[in-house]
């Protein structure tokens, strides 16, 4: 189970690094956070899972979207 989720995380990481549309990269990054929160739950680290879910899906996404709104959605 953990290995499967890790493979999914690697695929999402590669996608978020090669995508031309930065909004897609940010969504993939927040999906990585959610999947790693799932892995933390599977490994009995509930405190870390709560923090990672709140930070990764909430705060980081808001900050990235703010930055993209002030700059550009297209990568170089």
């Amino acid at each position: 189970m953990t290995e499967m989720l890790l493979v999914l995380i690697i695929v999402l990481a590669v996608f978020s690094l090669i995508s031309r549309d930065l909004i897609h990269s940010v969504i993939a990054l927040s999906a990585i956070s959610l999947l790693s929160a799932l892995i933390f739950t599977l490994h009995w680290a509930f405190d870390v899972a709560i923090t990672e879910a709140a930070v990764g899906a909430g705060v980081t996404t808001i900050i990235f979207v703010w930055a993209l709104k002030h700059t550009s959605r297209k990568d170089i």
Binding site: I32, I39, F46, D75
Partner: protein, 113 residues
């Protein structure tokens, strides 16, 4: 064993993009990926000695290591601080150079100075 190799691959992907990607915002994303891989490594290693949550009680003798969880908790909160500060700097750079390309920023910064 195979999970550690996968985590190593994740770390290599993040570090490679952090070094060689030309877009600064992708560098910040790569930093987040490296952070996630290290946190995952610690949590997975720490859970190798037990299979119960870190609470006192009858399962105490076979619970996971609570030490790594406390350390990784602080690492995640510091990670979001680093992300927000670097993104604020990136928006500041965009206001001056209108590009994400690190080479262009470097060249034009040298020209202006």
């Amino acid at each position: 064993m195979i999970r550690y190799i996968l985590l190593g691959i994740l770390f290599i992907i993040g570090m490679y993009a952090l070094i060689f990607h030309r877009s600064v915002i992708k560098k910040v994303i790569a930093l987040g990926i490296v952070n996630t891989s290290v946190v995952l490594l610690f949590i997975i290693s720490g859970s190798s000695i037990g299979d119960a949550p870190a609470f006192t009680g009858e399962q105490g003798a076979r619970m996971v290591d609570p030490m790594v969880q406390a350390l990784m908790l602080t690492a995640i909160v510091i990670g979001v601080c680093i992300t927000s500060f670097s993104l604020a700097l990136i928006v500041h750079l965009w206001g001056r150079f209108e590009t994400f390309d690190i080479d262009t920023i470097e060249k034009r910064g040298d020209d202006e100075s």
